[in-house]
């Protein structure tokens, strides 16, 4: 390690202001701080610092996303082989999914980090870590058969217009990954919905050839709910890709069609455990989202005039991107409410909005994305009112004494 350190020290002058490679200074600094914790010491204020930094925080989130990512890869393969009616064994299934998902991850990182690096160099700042998380969130919330060029365009749009124009990580109003998803949904609606996009039926790098079996349908359970919106109550039954009925347990495990990382509530809860254990995400937000969702679903149950309304609260929380959004998106500290009281309100309203959109909007089966983006707008307002109450308390104190 000594040799590496010496080498870095040797080439460092080239990247300083006026050096030959000054145009790559941010990249060099990024690499250097990636390899070594900076040895910069404090100049003012406190003399000692907590060991945590932005890199460590982001690392914790990425670790939390690993279960959902791995499960998503396996499920991609699983759905594919279900569609062509063969069972190649666990490893083959995983390899297929791995190869199908990897390009999506790669495109998202290359486009996003490329823009981050460029902007950092342009603004003469350090490279910020924010996109390390966004870059892995994006593949997890898109359907597997989304064309790669669309992902590239959407990622570029989100990073530039949802983040960099506001000033970079820490200044953005909207969750970057969700903006990517929203851009895909509204810019390419035909490619983003329908039965086929959630299950890859074709081959991946030549693997997994086969013909689709009869009766196959790649519709997600929520998609089926939308299709069945006019059906009489009681006749609706959620089914898997081959038409077998789905139990609550199936929905929890997540071997069902859906966006890559959002189907398995089990894997998401593992991630949630990591986030809460390390204290990186707020349990207040997470809990409130689930509470808000369950509360709203229960109310719709009481009305219960359509299939969507009569879906039980448990099903609502397990289906679609609800759990994924609650655990990984709503808890994004930058775009969520920043006061502790505000987090309860923010989370609860996300849960409410998600179920309302799902239930009352026949055109769009997935409400979580829009609910979180909507509440991102309202987060500062929520904080404003929480602060107002503190201010009022202070003024009242002055008057009474």
């Amino acid at each position: 390690m000594k040799a590496l350190r010496n080498y870095l020290d040797k080439i460092k002058p080239n990247f300083e202001e006026g050096g030959k490679l000054a145009m790559l200074r941010s990249v060099f600094e990024g690499m250097e701080t990636f390899l070594y914790v900076p040895n910069e010491t404090s100049k003012s204020g406190v003399h000692i610092h907590d060991s945590i930094d932005a890199k460590r925080t982001m690392t914790a989130v990425i670790i939390a996303l690993v279960p959902a990512l791995l499960f998503g890869m396996y499920n991609t393969g699983y759905q594919h082989y279900l569609a062509i009616g063969t069972n190649p064994g666990f490893w083959m299934t995983f390899v297929y999914g791995f190869l199908a998902v990897l390009p999506v991850v790669a495109v998202s990182y290359i486009v996003g980090l490329g823009i981050e690096f460029t902007v950092a160099q342009w603004k003469k700042e350090e490279i910020q870590e924010g996109f390390l998380v966004s870059g892995i969130l994006i593949p997890l919330i898109v359907p597997v058969d989304t064309p790669l060029w669309m992902i590239a365009v959407a990622t570029a749009f989100a990073v530039i217009f949802a983040k960099e124009v506001f000033g970079g990580t820490g200044y953005n109003i909207f969750n970057v990954a969700l903006v990517t998803r929203a851009f895909l949904f509204f810019a390419y609606p035909s490619a983003m919905s329908g039965d086929r996009v959630f299950v890859r039926t074709g081959t991946t790098f030549g693997i997994g050839e086969g013909t689709i079996v009869d009766g196959f349908s790649g519709a997600t359970p929520l998609g089926q709910v939308t299709v069945a919106s006019g059906d009489p109550l009681g006749s609706f039954q959620m089914v898997d890709a081959l038409g077998h009925p789905l139990t609550t347990w199936d929905l929890f495990l997540g071997l069902i069609p859906g966006s890559i990382g959002e189907t398995s509530v089990l894997a998401i809860l593992l991630g949630a455990a990591v986030l809460l254990f390390t204290g990186v995400a707020s349990w207040k937000t997470m809990l409130s989202v689930f509470a808000g969702g369950a509360f709203t679903a229960a109310i719709f149950n009481l009305i219960g005039t359509t299939v969507a309304m009569s879906l039980s609260p448990v099903d609502h929380l397990l289906l679609g991107g609800f759990a994924f959004g609650a655990v990984f998106m709503a808890t994004d500290p930058v775009t969520s409410a920043r006061t502790e009281t505000g987090k309860y309100i923010f989370g609860f309203l996300i849960g409410v909005m998600a179920i309302v959109i799902r239930t009352l909007n026949p055109g769009y089966p997935e409400g979580m994305m829009l609910a979180i983006l909507l509440m991102n707008i309202f987060a500062p307002l929520i904080d404003y009112y929480v602060l107002e109450s503190n201010i009022k308390r202070r003024l009242k104190r002055a008057v009474t004494k």
Partner: protein
């Protein structure tokens, strides 16, 4: 005891190098100095010249804007230098001490028999006034004001801080005399915060027991939980060690600035209390007591959270009763620090496995900031270590934007930079919070006066 404050928010950082309750011997300092930068809110006007003979208690400089505030020599001897920096800013006034100290005589007085004006006069003449600081703005108090109340916290809760119970031993009468003098200055009360369960009994004051992790000992906590400051009110604060010195002025009639300074930190060989006089050289305190040669050291006048970095040739800052020595850490290059499990690294968050080792493990922390500077990302970090009814993050943003109305509304008059020290310590984004707050307070003062 009716008054008990119990706080939960906060953080005790257990550092290696705690001092034991022993007295250490130290070299005699070969020079003493007053450093105008020690005091916030004054403009120094030097009143001596090089070569002048002074006694302990003779005026060395005054405040240009409030000439009644005098700063006196802590020892008798000869003025050897008036050091100036850029724009002729006064850096220090140095006095070479005589073999034995000659004191200016101020006369013994009974503090409870004096009128407030007489007490003020006595304190001003003997150079004790700068010990008294005011809230809002955390600066040297103005003699023209009448404070609503006076607050003193005798609980030192910062990392490795001295124990006031030990310091006050055998000086109880002086401390009480100091309290009596202060009590005469306010129509309100003198609040004294004491460590929960301590046997300190003082008369004529309101005793408040304080319990909890740092910053429990910060005087802001005492104020906020007893009688918070509202807009337009002024309160005064003073460190208890300085109350003893004030007390001595009344009981002995001299300006005796000697005090106990605690030497702490992982890079010291001997740890304990040293009897020293304010303004002595750092060298006289630490010479022969440091682990030298191994790596660069950082000597801090004060504690690791609010102290100032000094070199051996600098002087002990006016209010400080602690020297902390930690490794500088600039020679350390930690490989893949963000990815390792992190045994041996201290963090409030649970992203490092050290939190499994329990709360009482002692750590050696160096001065590295341990990460790159970022925009504010995480929320609720500051709240966890900020036990006042104030939203630190939003107040900080108001200060950065210099939105005066918002700062007032969010409670800027109640805080001092030291209250944000722990926020700065735990901050993921490594923002220099205390500097922002202190600049903000000074700018606000200029704007309002």
């Amino acid at each position: 005891m009716a008054n008990v404050i119990k706080i939960k928010k906060g953080l005790d950082i257990h550092l290696k190098g705690k001092a034991s309750e022993v007295l250490l011997t130290a070299k005699k300092s070969d020079s003493y100095a007053i450093v105008p930068d020690s005091y916030n809110g004054i403009v120094p006007k030097v009143s001596v010249r090089t070569g002048d003979k002074v006694k302990a208690g003779s005026v060395l400089m005054t405040d240009k804007n409030r000439p009644e505030i005098k700063f006196v020599s802590p020892v008798s001897g000869e003025v050897t230098a008036v050091n100036r920096g850029e724009k002729r800013k006064v850096l220090s006034i140095v006095v070479k001490p005589d073999a034995s100290i000659e004191y200016e005589a101020f006369g013994k007085k009974d503090p409870s028999a004096l009128t407030p004006e007489e007490t003020k006069e006595t304190l001003l003449n003997a150079g004790m006034w700068p010990f008294i600081r005011q809230r809002p703005y955390e600066r040297v108090a103005s003699p023209a004001d009448t404070p609503r109340d006076i607050f003193i916290s005798t609980l030192y809760s910062a990392p490795l801080a001295p124990d006031f119970g030990f310091i006050v031993q055998n000086q109880e009468a002086d401390f009480q005399a100091g309290l009596d003098a202060l009590a005469g200055l306010t129509p309100g009360k003198v609040f004294v915060g004491v460590k929960k369960g301590s046997a300190q009994k003082w008369s004529g004051v309101e005793i408040v027991e304080v319990e909890g992790p740092h910053p429990a000992g910060n005087v802001s906590v005492l104020i906020n939980h007893t009688k918070p400051i509202n807009k337009g009110e002024t309160v005064w604060t003073i460190y208890p060690d300085d109350v003893i010195i004030i007390g001595r002025l009344f009981t002995k009639g001299i300006a005796d600035f000697s005090r106990l300074v605690v030497l702490t930190g992982s890079e010291t060989t001997e740890r304990g209390y040293i009897r020293a006089i304010a303004g002595c050289t750092i060298r006289s305190l630490v010479e022969g007591k440091l682990l030298e040669g191994k790596e660069h050291l950082r000597i801090i006048s004060g504690n690791v959270l609010t102290g100032k970095q000094v070199s051996k040739d600098d002087y002990l800052y006016a209010y400080d009763n602690q020297i902390t020595v930690i490794p500088e850490g600039d020679q350390t290059h930690e490989f893949f620090g963000w990815a390792t499990p992190g045994t041996g690294k201290f963090s409030l968050s649970h992203t490092f496995l050290t939190w499994l080792l329990g709360k009482n493990k002692e750590y050696v922390l160096d001065a590295r900031i341990r990460g790159g500077k970022r925009a504010m990302i995480m929320s609720n970090e500051y709240d966890k270590v900020f036990p006042l009814d104030i939203y630190p993050e939003f107040l900080l943003k108001a200060i950065l934007a210099f939105d005066i109305e918002k700062m007032e509304n969010l409670g800027i008059y109640e805080i001092a930079p030291e209250d944000f020290a722990l926020c700065e310590f735990v901050d993921t984004s490594k923002i220099e919070i205390q500097k922002i707050v202190s600049d903000g307070l000074n700018l606000l003062y200029k704007e309002m006066n």
